[in-house]
């Protein structure tokens, strides 16, 4: 009886060692490949060579074109029809001004950190305990979840902190990523009289503010009169999100083993 359990034990131990020696590395390799693929989607600027980054153009609905270079929007050519008046608002970036999408940069850095963790433990590394593998997987998964969360949850903004538009005084714009979509919101504002008796309630922070939201900026009070939202899909971002989900899978299943 006891000898049988001893044999069983030895077999299990052998199996576990195999798991640590072979299986873990094959999972790690797999994970690494997926992440490399994901990381490749984020065009990493090498210092000094930013201008050589591939430019991508995205059609923003029927309203215009945006150019994304790495993590920054470099050019825009957007025409928005204003409500009520038939006036068309035309947007362009100044040549020296870019709109940096911090979400993309953060996601890219998180992926690279995960990749770095995996690179430190290549085939030549011999895992000694299961706890060690667990710890590594925890760290990798944490980075991946962070990366995904950065893309899936755009930072909410209070209106005064949303970046002001370049030219038109009564318009505010905000670009952000939501899942794999690049979104542009344009707020048309109208100035409230300074001593207005209308109950002034400053809006809190939110990704998207509705018409009627009020806020104060530089001692002027504004009310959002119209909101325009246009979006387009960044195909490579949706790829990346799929990669994240794919890579979390083996990571967690290898953990449970």
């Amino acid at each position: 009886m006891s000898s049988a359990s001893q044999v069983e034990r030895a077999v299990l131990e052998e199996e576990f060692n195999w798991l640590l020696r072979e299986e873990v590395h094959s999972v790690l390799k797999q994970l690494q490949d997926v992440l490399k693929e994901a990381s490749r989607r984020f065009a990493m600027p090498s210092p000094g060579l930013e201008s050589q980054l591939k430019q991508e153009n995205f059609i923003l609905g029927s309203e215009g074109v945006l150019t994304l270079q790495g993590e920054a929007l470099t050019q825009a050519d957007i025409n928005l029809k204003m409500a009520k008046s038939s006036q068309v608002l035309h947007f362009q970036f100044r040549d020296d001004k870019h709109w940096k999408l911090q979400q993309i940069q953060d996601a890219r850095n998180h992926v690279n950190q995960a990749l770095h963790l995996l690179n430190c433990r290549d085939d030549s590394y011999h895992f000694k305990t299961g706890a060690e593998v667990n710890k590594l997987m925890d760290a990798v998964m944490l980075q991946l979840t962070r990366a995904r969360n950065r893309l899936t949850t755009p930072a909410s903004l209070t209106l005064p902190s949303s970046p002001p538009s370049a030219d038109a005084g009564d318009v505010m714009v905000n670009f952000y990523i939501n899942l794999s979509k690049l979104c542009l919101t344009v707020y048309q504002l109208h100035v409230l009289p300074p001593n207005t008796t209308k109950n002034f309630k400053p809006a809190g922070s939110s990704v998207l503010h509705n018409p009627g939201a009020m806020f104060e900026l530089n001692n002027n009070r504004f009310e959002v009169s119209h909101v325009h939202k246009v979006e387009c899909v960044l195909p490579w971002l949706s790829d990346t999100l799929v990669f994240f989900t794919i890579s979390l899978q083996p990571a967690s299943s290898s953990k449970t083993r």
Partner: protein, 993 residues
Amino acid sequence: MSGNNLVLPIVLWGRTAPTHCISSLLVLDDCSAVITGCHDGQICLWDMTPELQVPPRAMLFGHTSSITCLAKANACTDKQYIVSASENGEMCLWDVNDGRCIEFSKLACAHTDIQFYQFTIGTQREGRLLCNGHYPEVLVLDASSLEVLYSLVSKISPDWISAMSIIRSHRTQEDTVVAVSVTGILKVWIITAEVSRMQDLDPVFEEESKPIQCQNCQSISFCHFTQNSLLVVCSKYWRVFDAGDYSLLCSVPSEADQGWTGGDFISADKVIVWTEDGCSYIYKLPPSCLSASEHFRSDVGKTREGAVPPLIYKIADQPDKKLLICPPVTRFFFSRREPFHKLLIQGDSEGRLSMWNVPDSTPLPVSCTLSLQESFDGLMPVSSGIIDQLSAQPGKEQPIKVTASVYIPAQGRLVCGREDGSIILVPATQTAIVQLLQGEHMLRRGWPPHRTLRGHRNKVTCVLYPYQVSPRYDQRALVSGGVDFSVIVWDIFTGEMKHIFCVHGGEITQLLVPPENCSTRVQHCVCSVASDHSVGLLSLKERKCIMLASRHLFPIQVIKWRPADDYLVVGCSDGSVYVWQMDTGTPYLNLLCVLYYVLQGNLPKYSHNALVVQAMKTNVSDPDMHVLFFDVEAVIIQLLTEEAQRPNPTLVSPRACTRIFKQVKETMKETIKEHLLDDDEEEEEEQRRREEKSKSLSLLEYNLTMDTAKLFMSCLHAWGLNQQLDLICLERLGMLRPHCPISFGLISRGGHMSLMLPTFKESLLRKLSVATGRKLTLSDIVGKGTYGLSRAVTTQHLLSVISLANTLMGMTNATFVGEHMKKAPTRPPRPGGTPESPRRGSSAPQSSPPPQAHIKQGLAFPVSTLFCVEGWSQLAAMHCVMLPDLLGLDKYRPPLLEMLARRWQDRCLEVREAAQALLLAELRRIGVSGRKDTIDLWAPYLPQYVDTVSSRESPTKVKCVNIVNGVNFLILINPYEHLEEASWCFMSSRLSL
């Protein structure tokens, strides 16, 4: 919550040290302590002795995720503050001396490094914290309020900052921040006085931005010896740059498969660089890197890659070290004061600190290495766990580990599930007394009486007493889950196993109670979560599983309820959320969204119970440790309530007789009651009967309140200072002496808590031995030792002991004599008698009638009452005024005036009176000069105090206290002021009027 209630924790760590997988490390400037943060969010304080020993002193709780960095947070030496930051953006400012949390905040972004910087503006010095992390700026925070003041921003290719260093150069008289971004760009910001004065949120842009091709930068350090060079360590190479124009001086690649993780200069011409497996290498820099050499900068522009400078020596791991589960953290520390230590310190996943003295030439063996577990193992007597005496295993040294526990305050009982599958039910105060105090219980085996429930085949992972959460459940039902996949329902009173649920395919990880407004069917269920990613709703009434949701792909982290819609919401570790219909068990929705991380019940919940026993673990794999939380106010209220429930002494004698009869002659109770009871008595009797009913079901009967007070007072009393008083305490008051110094804790702002490790006595002993100049033993510091720990601890303890002594003084014949062990007769070794009668008999003298009744009887009872009153008053007096003289100032940390002042208007009268008495005693003790200093210290915080005094309408309360030695003090307390310490001030009448 913690701000108002006077709650004192006492911790029973058990023999297993908590898991402490070190993630960050800090050495204090004066070499007095090492601080480590771990992956589970705790911070450990290790005292450092001049002989470079590091006994761990305390553990700080408050962070809910991995600690990413630690930094000092003030410049002066009398107070030592540190700041800690965690993965989820929490920041916390701690006082190292007493483990108090001074300030805390939470930002959306996570810091990976913090550096302290002191600005000098004119004569004023202001502390700043420079933080970098998962964001593209360097944030500048106020070091005392943790508010973000402004940020250092990059104009050119902004990106996360990997490493940063503050450079104070005597050459340029300018302080600069040098940082490397993740893309390998060197950034330089000038932080001069002008910048520091700028209080608005205008960003500061970089002075210089230079690509230096340093990807995966791990650290950057400035050579303080020559002030001419910078060391940048990346995982695949390390480089030295000129600190003036940042030109590359030399570059050294890493060994084949090793990655560098950090480095520093150890002298003008040597650097130390360490790897992720814990080895350190000391290199001599080539002449082109040395400003003193004629070849300095000779290689600029033509640096050869791969030229390895001479390796002087290597500091390797000890070969016998246990396997590590993640790379250790290494730091080099160079003290700029006596004795000018150059130390290499390493903290690893085993909770081990290793320290090397780094000499200039020859390698030295490790100076010191100690893990938390080793320090626990070395303790004599060993650190006790809550039910160690019941868990001893024959032939084994280690007791059976407690793996899950729940405390039932209403019954005063602790339920402990253990690793062998058994569950122990035991009265909490009794078992704590066994662990902490000396007494006759030490002679009894199997004391205190307990009940063992056996049913699980392996480790018990969770226990739940649903009745405690909601009275809709059966009072008898206790639910437990184990690694054997089963959930068992027990009858807590009979110990019977009622039902076994085997519905899960994995270890049970959580047991929860659905909220109040669920459907009636669900209301009688408990919710079980298992490691096979399934959730079940187990009906205790129907004894079947009414829903099993098991399609989750990832481990379940959190369960939320939407009772109105009949939804059960399951949050998984990957951030996905599943919504289930509870009654039908159909998946309703599956959405991807971010979950708010919910605490795993690690932090104590407070309720209005005198004693709460909270099981805690720093890591899921650890056994439980138990923290006893004493709520002083609740103890006092319960004591007073019981006192009030005693018969009114002015009542006519027949009723007093009734009571005596009742106590002595249980059998005659019914008849006497019929004849003599009136309405009042009836009500009381009703309650008694109810108690009786519930008690008869329970394990044993004892006075929970008195037991709690006894345990608490025995732990707090400063034993060994006054022989006579100690004798009175032991014999008249029935207190017990502790086995060894007790590990207390301190709760500070926002539920942050510091708990002394059992090894604190070692460092305390050493400190006191040095202070007194003679060798002390452990028994020398039992009791009184805790008053030499820290000022905050002293304050809390004195307040508690005095207010409780005053309460007991006002009670009728309040003594703990006879309280203890009074249930003994029901157990061997005292055989004979029915369980009922001896207990009654033994309890009679203790709950004896009030003084007046005794006087009527004209017997010796009132004398004993008087003795008790006198005993308590002596006890209070000693702690209130005599302690500093008896202990000697070198062994005494006086109470903090501001903490006492804040209690001046405490809502609990007894605490308030104790605070007032203590405050006056302390003011008297510090003398005129001390009071003057205090006034000077606080005066700046109340600039308009004269106005405040004159206007009667202001919320500021003015109290005039006449201190004996002729100085009148005005104490201002503003109850509406939130600021902890700026809200009060003492003023001598001469100063203000």
